[in-house]
């Protein structure tokens, strides 16, 4: 793939992360390099405990690595230390998260879960509501806009969560087993949606998955083993 600097959204070099010390030391990431380009949808594969979540958390700026460099959307955010103090603002503007469990706020209905992140990004209330409903319609859950998360089915909740992740048009979407709680048909639908969104918004998607049935939906597959990013399969 062309190494066009402008197009690289996530650029990670020599990132290591360990937990604990001495006998209890676990090297969750060892000298990981990873480049992801705009519009790309990649998968992180690997056995349980191989460091997939740790890598996502480092990219999402919710876990501080021990060393290395993290560059997001052209901005160096970690170079052996955080270079930005407002990581939350960075997440709000640039990163969307989707998890196995939807993590919607239980006390807000579907549209307000989405409107919240828009309002946090200083959109007006009316603007936030309009965009929330637009996103829900787009994800084909518009009819559930007033439902509370507890009333949503797994697939509906996951789509609302995706809508929330997309609300501020982030450049990076991080998904940790986004389809694990869904049946294979719905999993396929959700992945197709994510691919479509990445293409439309020129964002990249990094997803952890165990689901072989959806491997064909990714541009590239990366394998993690004992904290090392082994090789790079191109679909």
């Amino acid at each position: 793939m062309a190494d066009d600097k402008r197009n690289v959204i996530v650029d990670i070099k020599g990132v290591s992360k360990h937990f604990g010390t001495g006998d209890a030391r676990v090297d969750a990431l060892r000298d990981v390099d990873l480049k992801v380009h705009a519009g790309e949808v990649i998968a992180l594969l690997g056995p349980s405990g191989s460091g997939k979540t740790t890598l996502l958390n480092v990219i999402g700026c919710i876990l501080e690595p021990n060393q290395g460099q993290v560059q997001l959307d052209g901005e160096m955010v970690y170079d052996n230390r955080w270079l930005r103090s407002d990581l939350r603002k960075l997440r709000l503007d640039k990163i969307g998260f989707v998890f196995q469990f939807h993590n919607l706020l239980p006390f807000l209905d579907a549209k307000d879960n989405i409107a919240l992140v828009l309002q946090l990004a200083k959109k007006s209330k009316a603007e936030a509501q309009a965009r929330a409903i637009e996103l829900l319609d787009y994800l084909e859950v518009g009819h559930r806009k007033d439902a509370m998360p507890a009333q949503l089915s797994g697939g509906e909740a996951q789509r609302v969560a995706i809508a929330r992740a997309l609300a501020n048009s982030p450049r990076i979407i991080l998904a940790d087993e986004p389809t694990a709680a869904l049946d294979s048909k719905r999993a396929g639908i959700v992945m197709d949606l994510l691919r479509k969104l990445a293409a439309e918004q020129d964002a990249c998607i990094i997803a952890v998955t165990h689901d072989e049935k959806i491997y064909d939906r990714f541009d590239r597959l990366f394998h993690l083993r004992d904290g090392q990013l082994d090789h790079d399969q191109i679909n």
Binding site: I62, F97, A115, V117
Partner: protein, 378 residues
């Protein structure tokens, strides 16, 4: 969008249940304050009721409320003759038990001389005593009504009128009867040995004729202190101005109650504070995962602190408000007078506010420490 409000609305039933618990606690605290106020006010009412300016009591005592006092009945005449005294009346106080409609009433019997200071001030129902024997005016709290008959000692008394808010510091409702009746009652209720003595003639004057105090009203230009000073020079007698009597009552009778109720109040407030703190802390702990999610999606600390502090202040405010409502609704059914001043409720509100803010401080601390990564785990 106000997250605190939305969360409360989502868990409305639980929030209201918590508020209800809290408001019961607040109601008990307010009741305690109210009972204390009522007690002080009642005790002072009894002292203020005769509208006296001077109290003449037994030498060496602080009678007739803080200690027993017994002086000869003819003291009144000497006091009445004093320069500067316009009116004087003998008065007795005694707590008795009497049967009425199957119940045993504890009554605070005030004996006074018809037409002289010491009688009931404002009769709210019926009339004042007119006959010199066997009529009484009672406090409404006694449960007696005009037309009732009640047996005190060996005589039947007819209730002719009612007064309000007249009781001693123990909460026993007062009844007024004539001094002569009160003295007869006193001797009828005296221990048998004393009765034998009285029958023999010994100590007759002392016991049958004795009164607890003589109260006096003064001429407009007379100085209470100097009249009191004159009386103090007399053998076996002592005198207090009205102000001194009120002060004495607050210090002796009321002070004991103040310490007891103050202790309970302190314990209750501490318990309330701990309960509120616990509720708020638990409330926050249960939300840690949601707070982690908020951090993850980029909510600033201000939003998270707002969520916690607003909720805890709302909890305290609603609890306080309902607590006040509850006590105002039920206070008239209390056996003792519950007297609440606006500043009491305001002071409690202040305390609750501080407790809520401090308690939410603990929650905020925990919330700010939580790692956004915690939102991710199952």
């Amino acid at each position: 969008m106000n997250l605190a409000y939305r969360d409360v609305r989502h868990n409305l039933f639980r929030f209201l249940l918590t508020c209800l618990g809290l408001s019961l606690l607040m109601a008990v605290v307010l009741a305690m304050i109210g009972i204390y106020n009522g007690l002080v006010s009642d005790a002072l009412n009894i002292v203020k009721a005769p509208q006296a300016e001077l109290w003449v009591v037994e030498h060496g005592t602080q009678g007739p409320f803080a200690e027993a006092s017994k002086i000869p009945g003819d003291t009144r005449d000497a006091v009445a003759r004093l320069h500067g005294v316009s009116e004087a009346g003998s008065i007795t106080y005694k707590t008795v038990e009497a049967k009425f409609a199957g119940d045993t009433l504890r009554l605070y019997v005030i004996g006074y001389q018809l037409g002289r200071p010491g009688g009931p001030q404002t009769v709210v129902e019926g009339r004042n005593i007119q006959r010199s024997h066997f009529e009484m005016v009672a406090d409404r709290k006694s449960g007696l009504t005009p037309g009732d008959y009640i047996r005190l000692g060996r005589d039947n008394f007819k209730v002719v009128g009612l007064v309000e808010d007249t009781m001693n510091s123990a909460g026993d409702p007062a009844i007024f009867i004539t001094l002569a009746d009160a003295q007869t009652l006193q001797s009828q209720l005296a221990p048998p040995a004393l009765r034998v003595q009285i029958a023999r003639g010994a100590g007759l004057l002392e016991s049958e004729n004795a009164v607890a105090a003589v109260i006096a009203r003064l001429d407009a230009n007379a100085d209470a202190q100097s009249v009191a000073q004159t009386v103090r020079q007399w053998k076996h007698l002592s005198a207090m101005t009205q102000a001194e009597q009120e002060e004495l009552l607050i210090q002796s009778v009321v002070d004991r109650a103040r310490r007891q109720i103050g202790l309970f109040l302190g314990i209750l407030l501490t318990v309330s504070a701990v309960v509120i703190a616990l509720i708020i802390y638990t409330m926050t702990m249960e939300k840690l995962k949601q707070i982690a999610t908020l951090k993850l999606i980029g909510a600033p600390d201000r939003v998270i602190i707002g969520l916690i502090v607003q909720q805890s202040v709302a909890l305290g405010a609603v609890g306080w408000f309902f607590g006040l409502g509850i006590i105002l609704l039920v206070k008239d059914y209390f056996p003792r007078r519950v007297l609440l001043e606006p500043h009491n409720a305001a002071a409690l509100a202040g305390i609750i506010l501080v407790v809520c803010v401090v308690a939410s401080g603990l929650g905020v601390r925990a919330a700010l420490k939580v790692d956004p990564a915690e939102a991710i785990g199952g």
